[in-house]
Symmetry: C2
Amino acid sequence: MQETALRIRLITTFVLFSVFLFAQDVIYTYDFFELTLRHTAEGNPFRDVQIKGVFSQGDEEYEVTGFYDGDGKYVLRFMPCREGIWSYKTVSNVDSLHNHSGRFDCVKKSGSLHGVVRVANTYHFKYDDGTPFYPFGTTCYAWIHQEDEIQDETLTTLKEAPFNKIRMCVFPKWYELNEIEPAIYPYIGRAPDQWDFWRFNPAFFRHLEKQIRRLQDLGIECDLILFHPYDGGHWGFDRMTDDQDDFYLRYIIARLSAFRNIWWSVANEYDFLNEKQMEDWNRFFEILEEEDAYGHLRSIHNGLKWYDHSNPRVTHLSIQEDPWEDGGIGEYEQKIDRWKAKYKKPVLIDEMKYEGDIRYSFGDLTAQEMTDRFWYVYTKGAYATHGETYIHPKNIIWWARGGRLYGESPERIAFLKKIVESAPGSGFESFRGMEEDGNAVRAGEACYLFYIGARQPAERVIFLPEDKKYKLDIIDAWGMSLSKIEGTFSGKNLINLPGKPYTAVRAIRIH
Amino acid sequence: MQETALRIRLITTFVLFSVFLFAQDVIYTYDFFELTLRHTAEGNPFRDVQIKGVFSQGDEEYEVTGFYDGDGKYVLRFMPCREGIWSYKTVSNVDSLHNHSGRFDCVKKSGSLHGVVRVANTYHFKYDDGTPFYPFGTTCYAWIHQEDEIQDETLTTLKEAPFNKIRMCVFPKWYELNEIEPAIYPYIGRAPDQWDFWRFNPAFFRHLEKQIRRLQDLGIECDLILFHPYDGGHWGFDRMTDDQDDFYLRYIIARLSAFRNIWWSVANEYDFLNEKQMEDWNRFFEILEEEDAYGHLRSIHNGLKWYDHSNPRVTHLSIQEDPWEDGGIGEYEQKIDRWKAKYKKPVLIDEMKYEGDIRYSFGDLTAQEMTDRFWYVYTKGAYATHGETYIHPKNIIWWARGGRLYGESPERIAFLKKIVESAPGSGFESFRGMEEDGNAVRAGEACYLFYIGARQPAERVIFLPEDKKYKLDIIDAWGMSLSKIEGTFSGKNLINLPGKPYTAVRAIRIH
């Protein structure tokens, strides 16, 4: 036994030594290669210096834009999506940054590096390596702008929580319950509103990147909100000129698109940004499509005004709306069904109000209702995002500032997530599977899920294929338990239910 | 003391004796005078014999239609709405029934005889004597068609329940969970479908009248459904000819309009009666208006298809719809507000699904949700109707057959009723009284009610008049308790709430 331990220690030492030796030259797929070049810091390097890198392997070629990182450092980042030897060269309007070249070896890391999340099967998502991704989002708009201890606590909370996507803002937030000057700003200047919108603060972006990387380590996708209205002119990040907006957007794409877990959320509540027009949003989508070499997911989130998601640059719907307040008696097709039919894109209900008890009606859901809403959305074959707004003596409220979670829904969302992830295939398809009100989804013919919601029927009719056999479980979505129903089932079945709210039925094919 | 007891006994004896002596000649206001004349039973007296009565007092004159009650009896009924001596004479196409005359004395009975319920103050109701009537309905469609013991049990249940209006059908019901042949039918013939639609069965109508009178004794308005689709051709009462429909309608008006507690509900789920056209419904309203001398309330209840309640013969809206599934973020004006603004009539949500656990989604509400819906409707200045559908081993389910109530909402509806009835004025007016989602109503400036619903805010902003002072109570609508908030309040107030669902706030003016 001791011999084995020694051998492991020797191997570990050798591996660490090798990694040290080739640190700059061996890259994992979906991690990124970074090249830092030096040049003067004089003038306005953000504006004056252009640098690009061309990365190639065989026929495949990527052109990525570099960025100025302060202190005379010019950086190029590249995320290889394929293993093997990649070579690169630089192109710049500055001689000393032009025509640098080199190569590095990209190797596959088994396990967690699945790549970029992309739309799959019209309404769903997969990582590049084919692993299905079922978004279970949460919301911490301004967590990176808080005191260090709160940020650390947020990450500790996320480690235990079921969420694999987080909605968060680049710019800080100035809003009721959130009126805090952060320690660091994205621009050079003086708070609150004396900024040079042509000079970024690299330290701010390095901090943002550090936190995005820590999210990566937790397997969490960063649904990064590029513009938001919760500034109201306090800092003025919501009312820059068109050129300044584009300048910011290009800088952030250059810095962040090599992070595999980035999703671009062009705006939160876009329609509350009074200074912007529809042509601005269109232009931002264009820039994102052109400049992001990897094609990360792109969306825009509404306030009161619906966005036309038929824009082909929008990869998925990022909705704020109550999709269940609709339908009426006996109507199966509710909003989510109609949105899917119309746009042929995945639907994410990225705000459906928050569990909490604050005075505002966006943040006073019970845990039961938040849980119910999650179940509703997933049993329509769509995806949802959580948020929490319990009153806190220091206003450290999860929805905006992070910290701790106090609610009872995350545990139930974890339970739902396990059920969703255990189904085969890559996502549920909504269908008319119940005689009466209630949602039904299927993963092919292998797994069915029926959800009855806040009602309490003691019986319900469900429909399964006539020619297959299934075993059934009754699910208590609130109590987080499954109990088997004796027997096997096919076709139309009147199922006995416990007669209490938040009941679901799962059918798994046996032959 | 014994002397007093003796004196009371003597007075009682005298009063009873007097009533006996003048039994036919002294009538209470809002009770009815009945004149029975005899003639042959030959031919078809329902069709062949016409008899009318003209009742007058001073300038006031009422013409009422009589009806054939079987066994050669021809009956005229008249409900006097004013005390004093009334005289009458009959008009008939049959000599022996023509030109009978007489008089009777009408006296006011103190206490319970308030008269006919009528629309008051646009959106509300009052009895003829000015007493406000706040409808709190329930639903027992076919209770009069059940075995006697069940009918008696229904009345016993109603005696303890908070309901002061009942939706019930003339025709029996043939519908899932309700497939029963009644003991007695409205027509002469043979069950199930051999009827002479030109010959009524007076025994059936006498039974109906007995039960309407027993409802009167309990202070319950009879919201009588004249046509309904839950026959499906089994008996054919849903598919008579136009002439037969009108014949039935005129007969029932002749028999029942003298009952002060009658409301005419032309149909339940009118749009499911496939044999009828819109012109039929219009004609029924015309006949009701022409033939009913007292102008009882008239409505029609929808299934899936909205009825145009702007028809001036419709006195109030009798709706089936979920009025809360609407509005969206920050919208104060929801369906009820819009209906009131459009039609300028009282709004009754006469079906909003039922508390129960049956397999159908019309009958699987939790008691919490039923309670919440009641509160929602009343804090929009409208009125609601209850129903209950718990699975029963013999299918004796309240909604259709009556019997017992098993649910937990009636107790809570009673609690709400007390709060509504204790407010001054004749009904609540909806207004924008909350900063965020939630309903607010006011009774002038004397009493305000704010309802937050299934949410759990621990704070909410409410608005009161700036120049008046109010005391506040926190109401737990589910727990049925009131607790006083210390202090007096005016204008805009941030109120601390218990942070749990089904909370309301009541403000009562102190000066």
